[in-house]
Symmetry: C2
Subunit: 301 residues, 2 copies
């Protein structure tokens, strides 16, 4: 899993910081999460190949998570995209995008699908042979979802020395990695366990922004490899967090601790603070493995 | 008049070029013309004071002239703007903006007015004591207008030596500059012509983008101080200009020549060309005073 942060600051885009957008790569598949204004330019700056993006997940319809989507969709058209694009987001997203495309008299020349999210409980919104994506219900000023990406268990790993010892032809490797035993020409059965190692444990990534401190999500987040949790404020401004529908760095740390995640990534920083370490230091008082998102930063798990 | 180019490239925003937006300053008033994605960041980069923008003119509803508007409007709200904002643009602009504000449950806390343009003939859409703004009907793939900004004649200029010679108190200067004669305490009448010089001739700026070559606009453009005319292509690609609703640099030069403008500023360049001089050189074959717009460039007239 490779996570590229395109933007991770709250509210308005500025000369050197961007609103929320990130790209998650799982086994060579790209998932775009949120799409604030300027996302298409940040994708270019970070050398993300546009044509590899097939799925876009929008947490909620505040501008700093969403205003870049229509431009990205229009640019895909200008680049003569042919591949399908799937957009997952709250009710209204389809109307907002299609109205603007209609006004510009430029409908897409590629298939564009909207998957409208309205549920208040977690639901599976995407699944293929490598990945599942579930919503994580958030609590914000408007309807919002986080997203939980889980790798499916991968193929078993070939024990190449064992395979060579039994002189097994490479044409059988795929079956062996899929867990099958091997029958040699003389009828001998080699059990799969002798030919393979366990696959890497599947990884998982949870994106939670924007939300108040919401401990009832903890069971769903249990043990994830990486949790991106918004930390718009530090505790000094805890009085602002609840009414604006946001969390503090300390609250993000508490979620990470109680959900026993492997890593906590902080982001969605209010631009009132001069130094990101204010967030990091506060969360580290609660939880050990705290990472700080920043625009252009890449995390690999 | 001071014109700041925020963006002047066609189609999609890129890492180092921006779609159309520019700020025209006339006697300390700011007018924003078009608002492609990323305009608010370019306003910051060019140190344009947000609160001074009260009027936004949108030529047409293609994304590269319009997708930055909703973000700018939302940012004004976050900055606690109180002043009115007036938006002038084609039918549909109000619906596109208000739908997105509604979905984000964040209506503006300042008065926002939409002035919907539907006329096919030039019309006066703005006037105050310093400036008039008229539409310039353009021909593009969708309904589009250019905008003609004309300064009103300014005050006459005080001849300070004459004023001092007659020992005229400064409290009378304003009246004199407004054209009044001066009556001295002994009843002597000093004619205004003796106390003032003619004001600077009023300047004018015409913005024409996006449009095909449209010579019937020439009478309206006659003698303007500066004409910004789109030049998406060079003549080599003239076959692309007409069907896409655009002009070549040569065609922009022809309009400038026939309208006898003082200066021609080229812009809205297709990003297919490696060098802006290709546009400049072509237009200069037709017209002498050709200037090349570029992002961040400032023109003063």
């Amino acid at each position: 899993m490779k996570l590229t942060i395109l933007g991770c600051y709250a509210a308005t885009p500025r000369s050197f910081t961007n609103p929320t957008s990130q790209v998650l790569e799982i086994r060579n598949e790209l998932f775009l999460i949120d799409c604030g204004e300027g996302t298409q330019v940040e994708l270019r700056r970070n050398k993300v190949k546009f044509s590899k993006i097939k799925h876009v997940f929008i947490s909620h319809l505040h501008g700093d998570h969403f205003f870049g989507l229509v431009g990205l969709i229009a640019t895909f058209r200008l680049l003569n995209r042919k591949k399908e694009l799937h957009v997952y987001g709250p009710k209204g997203i389809k109307e907002a995008i299609t109205l603007q495309l209609k006004l510009s008299n430029s409908w897409t020349n590629y298939p564009l699908y909207f998957h409208v999210l309205e549920e208040k409980m977690p639901e599976r919104i995407y699944e293929d042979d490598k990945v599942t994506v579930d919503t994580i219900p958030l609590k914000h000023r408007i309807y919002a979802n986080g997203f939980l990406f889980r790798e499916k268990p991968g193929d078993r790993k070939l024990n190449i020395h064992a395979a060579q010892k039994y002189k097994i032809d490479v044409v059988y490797y795929k079956k062996i990695k899929a867990g099958k035993d091997m029958v040699l020409d003389d009828g001998t059965v080699i059990p799969n366990a002798e030919l393979t190692f366990d696959p890497d444990p599947p990884k998982s990534y949870a994106f939670c922004s924007d939300t108040v401190y919401k401990p009832d999500n903890i069971p769903q987040l249990k043990g994830v490899t990486a949790l991106y949790h918004e930390a718009t404020f530090i505790e000094k401004h805890a009085d602002l967090a609840q009414p604006t529908g946001h969390s503090t760095a300390k609250q993000a740390g508490k979620i990470a601790l109680e959900a026993e995640v492997k890593n906590l990534i902080l982001g969605h920083y209010s631009t009132r603070y001069p130094d990101l370490d204010l967030f990091g230091d506060e969360a580290k008082e609660i939880f050990d493995n705290v990472l700080l998102a920043d625009d252009g930063k890449v995390f690999e798990f």
